[in-house]
Symmetry: D3
Subunit: 237 residues, 6 copies
Amino acid sequence: MRLHDMNWQAVEAYLERDDRIVIPIGSTEQHGYLSLGTDAILAERVAVEAAEPLGIPVLPVLPFGLAPYFTAFPGSLTLRIETFLNVVRDLLDTLEGQGFRRFAIVNGHGGNAPAQNLARDWVAQSRSHRVQVVFTSWYAAPKVAALAASHEADPTHGGWFENFPWTRLPDVAMPEGGKPVLSRGVVEQASPADIRELTPDGSFGGSYALPDDVMDEIWRTGVVEVRDLLSDGWAFS
Amino acid sequence: MRLHDMNWQAVEAYLERDDRIVIPIGSTEQHGYLSLGTDAILAERVAVEAAEPLGIPVLPVLPFGLAPYFTAFPGSLTLRIETFLNVVRDLLDTLEGQGFRRFAIVNGHGGNAPAQNLARDWVAQSRSHRVQVVFTSWYAAPKVAALAASHEADPTHGGWFENFPWTRLPDVAMPEGGKPVLSRGVVEQASPADIRELTPDGSFGGSYALPDDVMDEIWRTGVVEVRDLLSDGWAFS
Amino acid sequence: MRLHDMNWQAVEAYLERDDRIVIPIGSTEQHGYLSLGTDAILAERVAVEAAEPLGIPVLPVLPFGLAPYFTAFPGSLTLRIETFLNVVRDLLDTLEGQGFRRFAIVNGHGGNAPAQNLARDWVAQSRSHRVQVVFTSWYAAPKVAALAASHEADPTHGGWFENFPWTRLPDVAMPEGGKPVLSRGVVEQASPADIRELTPDGSFGGSYALPDDVMDEIWRTGVVEVRDLLSDGWAFS
Amino acid sequence: MRLHDMNWQAVEAYLERDDRIVIPIGSTEQHGYLSLGTDAILAERVAVEAAEPLGIPVLPVLPFGLAPYFTAFPGSLTLRIETFLNVVRDLLDTLEGQGFRRFAIVNGHGGNAPAQNLARDWVAQSRSHRVQVVFTSWYAAPKVAALAASHEADPTHGGWFENFPWTRLPDVAMPEGGKPVLSRGVVEQASPADIRELTPDGSFGGSYALPDDVMDEIWRTGVVEVRDLLSDGWAFS
Amino acid sequence: MRLHDMNWQAVEAYLERDDRIVIPIGSTEQHGYLSLGTDAILAERVAVEAAEPLGIPVLPVLPFGLAPYFTAFPGSLTLRIETFLNVVRDLLDTLEGQGFRRFAIVNGHGGNAPAQNLARDWVAQSRSHRVQVVFTSWYAAPKVAALAASHEADPTHGGWFENFPWTRLPDVAMPEGGKPVLSRGVVEQASPADIRELTPDGSFGGSYALPDDVMDEIWRTGVVEVRDLLSDGWAFS
Amino acid sequence: MRLHDMNWQAVEAYLERDDRIVIPIGSTEQHGYLSLGTDAILAERVAVEAAEPLGIPVLPVLPFGLAPYFTAFPGSLTLRIETFLNVVRDLLDTLEGQGFRRFAIVNGHGGNAPAQNLARDWVAQSRSHRVQVVFTSWYAAPKVAALAASHEADPTHGGWFENFPWTRLPDVAMPEGGKPVLSRGVVEQASPADIRELTPDGSFGGSYALPDDVMDEIWRTGVVEVRDLLSDGWAFS
């Protein structure tokens, strides 16, 4: 349930019966022909759909993440690493102070990985009660990743694997077919200017789109996989 | 236009004809019977409606702000001041790097005022081109504030002045009437625990609701006032 | 009583009967023809005079504040926001560790407003005893502000409202009369270079001086208003 | 070549013909029966052996990394994430100022992954010349990882895969055989106290040792794989 | 000349003929029977008297420094090291931006020594013009230190060497004679509570006072020594 | 005993009988003809030899320190002051959490002096048990310094006093004789570029080498002096 569809009284009532909460984190950055909000949209949506039947509150997505390499594509935003980690830490601290004990960070952007390191650091702090944080990049979880790979190897940034009805833009026509996949090693060393040269349209390659029924199956798999994590993914009880 | 309804190509095209952008900042915090997202919802919505006819892109709202005093109400979130200011600074820095030169921060939460100080600090940095930042707390702008005061003096946190169709919750009944207004001086010195005692339901007093046509007029006034700022509020040209 | 007119033994004795302390914060920045120290001088002086009959210790004024927009006027100083807030936080932390519980921040400079946000954040920290912070910008407190406005509307930076015998300089002749008041909206968007152009002499407009008896009344009003706050302004007891 | 086996004149001469440098980063933390310095020892050694025939200087290893989860095992050290990232940033900044342009971070500890994010952020800074950073966790590079997996699946922390003649301790006898491998998911949520319970001896499972010829082949493979990266791993030229 | 006795026009005129400025830094901390402001008072006064005939502006003293070990004596204040260094850095940055090039930090408190390290770091930044910073702890400069030692060996904190007419308090009688000098090694390891036990009155030992003519000679020597530094102490020209 | 020659079980056993630990801190920076690692090598070696017979663990040396003024000599590294202090703080925090209570920082580089201020700040934190930190710059301790001065006055950076068999490089011939000693006052104001001009070879003057038996005596004196500190230098027990 979206936290923004609750008032504080509802959260207080919830805390009497549960201590879980979901923190979706995304990014606002170029995704080829798709929405600049792709990673934020997907992270929030998968979190909300996964949490709904469990009744777990879902924070509004953090729409800004770590994407320094995309800054040459207008409309891409990035936080410095320290800023980003501090946002996540402040959210965890505030929520812990209110009685939340189990936190699921649902991530929509590969560059946000240090949030997991932050979470481990945060859990390692000395305290008198147990806290648990699960971190998942929903698109890289085992079932979704396997299913995606069964349709087309090596799903990339800005390609079909991020092309859902809720991330494509109404008046934008996707190119037909696809293009070769960029080398990950090259991308990882590239400056913002390099990346614009490497991919004039922003996509890292592969097909631009797969059929809707494929995407639908992937989405449903992702939702269930996050839901299973929220439900059964807590190592300690 | 919501940035998330654009792709980077659209932003690049926009930058060839304009250099303005809107940054809405809100908060997720108790608002009495209203949505925990009230300040974020209002800031983003007023920004989007104001910017729409002007074609100016609007960032996704920063849903977390400075609300340390509300942390005893579950579901309220707060960033530390440094974290909050760094988020705003990082957004300004990134956008400036892409050619944006005029920035409108549309604020939905009184506690976020230091963002304006940050903006003045940021503008004062040495650089070779001009940047301008206008900052408005939409609900405190002259026309909206005067109109509100004409209906009921001293509109407060969590009361009628924040009670719009898009901030109230479907299954939550508002109390009838109102209650006395809390002293601002007392609130400003209160700890989180104090505030829970001062206001058991979270509202700072006054009526809980005014008629829809009043709220509608206030809203339309606010939208126009922000739009005028986006259109004509730039001191230098 | 100035803390610098005390030794630690005197403070220790004081703490056995009281827990209040005054922290004046100012700025060193251009004030037109007046002293660069105007804001620091006034904040410290009003604090000392207000506190004297109450026997409350007054820290030495923090002479540096937030004034990035004035840096093109030589002799103006500014701290980065984080630095400034950390100074205030460190002072509060140290004093709290010694048993002080009620803190009055007496501010002499509009740009220092984020100190109040810091104070609210600081008060909101979890602790086992109560602390209270009152924050006042002495020149903007209700009685002083009303009295000033009754003499000339819209008192501004570097004008008559800051022109006291202890802020004017012995060998500097003030201009006769006054000049038009700068638009606040324009000033708030101005870079340091802009401000030098907008106001060649540094004043933001209005009369350069009012008669001594007017200023004397304003001063005495300000002292009493701060004293009342120190005496009766604590919300919780 | 170890930087500590050079004087500045030698580095200056080197910079006239090359612009590469190696930054090994490790950790000091429990490794079961093995040396607390295992990750630092391996990172530095593999870097030095790889770089030797290429004549590339190798910094002294950063012996402290991110290992908050191990702090309940005495002798384990950890830096806060910000501290760790700042060390890496400061080293890159200083070396860039001297003319180095291609940097290889050779990592020995899984928890140090955010150094790669820092590197991408650093590369993305605006500058007038090209810099490149390659980041490798030597033990996870494709060839070494495949070879290791061919001997025993799922090599873990503190087990055979880190047991080299230069990480075991002269007077410490390793246990015979092995033990079950801990679940990665459980470990990732564990607090320091949890980890001590999960693994009383510190190893995460699997065999404690493999034959020396196996380890020797793995080592030589790792050295060559890092060397190939130093030699041919630069995406831009 | 005190900066607070100038307006910006005077500083601008000064910068046309000179580029030196004095930054006195002190501390507010227990000094036995003497003023809590001793270090700030002495640093500012020696700076002002030294600079007067040279016409060099003197900033208002930074009244807060690094004195964590004195926090158990009420009225003692301390900044965290980062805060303190940032204040000094911000002042240098702002003044450099206005054309000042030669900075004299006149220090009154032993614990403030890291300001000198900060200054060296600051000077080492890459820039296109030369800046110079001289740092002096006036009481430890060669001539003053030798003269003091000729009167009584080992002058200490809170003893005769800080007892000037402007640091003693009107109604406080100093003890007769003196007491043994505390071991420096012990003091350096002492916690705040330890120091209160080691020195019940705050003085670190030796005589409480020397004759006025001795103190007068010391003072005049100190003023001249600082003046010589301001005049001739610049290594590069 | 080097911590890297121990596993965690050995440290745990040690903590049952002792609570001391040694933290050597060095620098990687130009030392004339000597190794870039001179300060790190000496700090670690003197610490290890001093601690060996006492059985106290010695951390791996922190090989990076504060040396901004040497950055124009390639291969010299420096951390920003905040980074450096945070590393030392993080190490102290982690070790304290494991039961260590007495910490000896053995320093090999003059520029690292702020680590002592950090240590005093750290000791002054409020806690329920006693911690002690001794800080020694081994080369400046009384006996070593006196012995050195008896051989040649004013031992300097990069000269004979740092020329040991373990800091000179096998294939580098030292110049014969010596050269005039640079003025300390000049060096302290010098930018990185200035220092390269002041000392084309990096040495600050004096003889380049003294006879081996002299250096051997100095070394043995240094080791014993550090050992005495580790053994008897704790002010409180």
